[in-house]
């Protein structure tokens, strides 16, 4: 693949299909006041989509994460969230706990 072709693909296949949503959002946000009911609903949708992204990565993981069994991925995510709640809503504690459980689980499984 030539360099020029690689950058053409970057713009048309990577950049534009992502950026179009941001620019549509820029247009759609016009006339929506913060603290309006429509704003609250869009925010709830954004949060739920994000939750969907999490669920999708856990259930259909990319790359080497797929070699870790599903049950270990689920236990790790539950432990991470539990640590987050227990340790005064600390993101650091949550991420660390989830990663430790995932790594130990993967090691025990023989990866």
């Amino acid at each position: 693949m030539s360099e020029l072709y690689a950058y053409t693909l970057l713009v048309f296949v990577g950049f534009l299909p992502s950026e179009i949503w941001r620019m549509l959002g820029l247009v759609a946000a016009r006339g929506i006041a913060d603290e309006s009911e429509l704003f609250m609903w869009v925010r709830a949708v954004a949060i739920a989509v994000l939750a969907g992204v999490i669920a999708k990565i856990i259930l259909f993981p990319p790359g080497t994460l797929a070699s870790v069994p599903l049950v270990i991925r689920l236990v790790a995510i539950v432990c991470g969230f539990a640590a987050f709640v227990i340790v005064r809503r600390s993101v650091l504690a949550g991420v660390a706990a989830g990663e430790v459980v995932l790594t130990l689980g993967a090691l025990a499984y023989g990866i």
Binding site: L10, V13, G14, A46, I57, F81
Partner: protein
């Protein structure tokens, strides 16, 4: 018109709001999560034979981790450009409600359209989470430079990760890359309102085992449910 002198109080407050945002990004755990995630993406980009400059440009232009993973692995594996563009577009659809729920928070009635282009481009999950958390405490005139500072702070972290991953690509063990790929879902989860939505989405996803659900539809259904519950609670108060 002559340029404003550096002592101008409004310009100074714009710079200090930008720097406060940049600092907030680096004080957040998410900056380190971003570095880790992009080490994974940098390594992936290297493995599929793209140049370092291409990897850096991809992080700056696409600025969405999952979309970059799809872009690199699909193109690198020789998938058709049109199909890859569709997959990237589906994965980035989540950016639409995020931009719509960020801009009304930072905009003022006199804000010109062009001032919102940069914050819209910098919108990604990490920037959105930190901006929504921190912006309500700030005066409205400081919010656009602050949001830009947060976004560019995370962008610098991502570029550092891209460089590290690109150079270390051949020496990363699979256990480590699996852990790096796990950073995205585990860090996105760390928020209480998100957990509610997570439960609402995980149910149908588990039921529809191995069925590729359109995330935007999932979000509209689950988000409307969460919004309905919120309204019901308010009404019962």
């Amino acid at each position: 018109m002559s340029p404003l002198p550096p002592t101008d109080p409004t310009q100074r407050s714009v710079v200090s709001a930008f720097l406060a945002g940049f600092r907030a990004a680096w004080l957040s755990v998410l900056a380190y999560v971003v570095i880790g995630t992009y080490v994974g993406i940098g390594a992936l980009t290297h493995d599929f034979g793209f140049s370092l400059a291409w990897a850096v440009a991809s992080t700056a232009l696409v600025w969405a981790g999952p979309a970059q993973v799809i872009l690199v692995s699909a193109l690198g594996a020789g998938a058709a450009p049109f199909e890859t563009a569709l997959a990237v577009g589906v994965s980035s659809a989540r950016l639409l409600p995020m931009v719509i729920s960020l801009l009304p928070l930072i905009r003022r009635p006199q804000t010109p359209y062009r001032a919102l282009i940069l914050p819209a481009h910098l919108t990604a999950v990490t920037m959105w989470i930190e901006s929504l958390r921190l912006l309500p405490r700030l005066p409205r005139e400081a919010r656009i430079p602050f949001a830009n500072g947060v976004g560019l702070g995370f962008m610098v972290a991502a570029q550092a990760g891209t460089l590290i991953g690109y150079y270390l690509a051949t020496s990363l063990p699979p256990l480590l890359t699996a852990g790096l790929l796990f950073l995205t879902p585990i860090s996105f989860l760390m928020s209480d309102w998100l957990a509610l939505a997570f439960g609402l989405v995980l149910g149908p996803l588990l039921a529809a085992w191995q069925v590729e659900l359109d995330l935007l539809w999932t979000g509209i259904v689950a988000g409307s449910l969460a919004y309905g519950i919120h309204r019901l609670r308010e009404a019962l108060k």
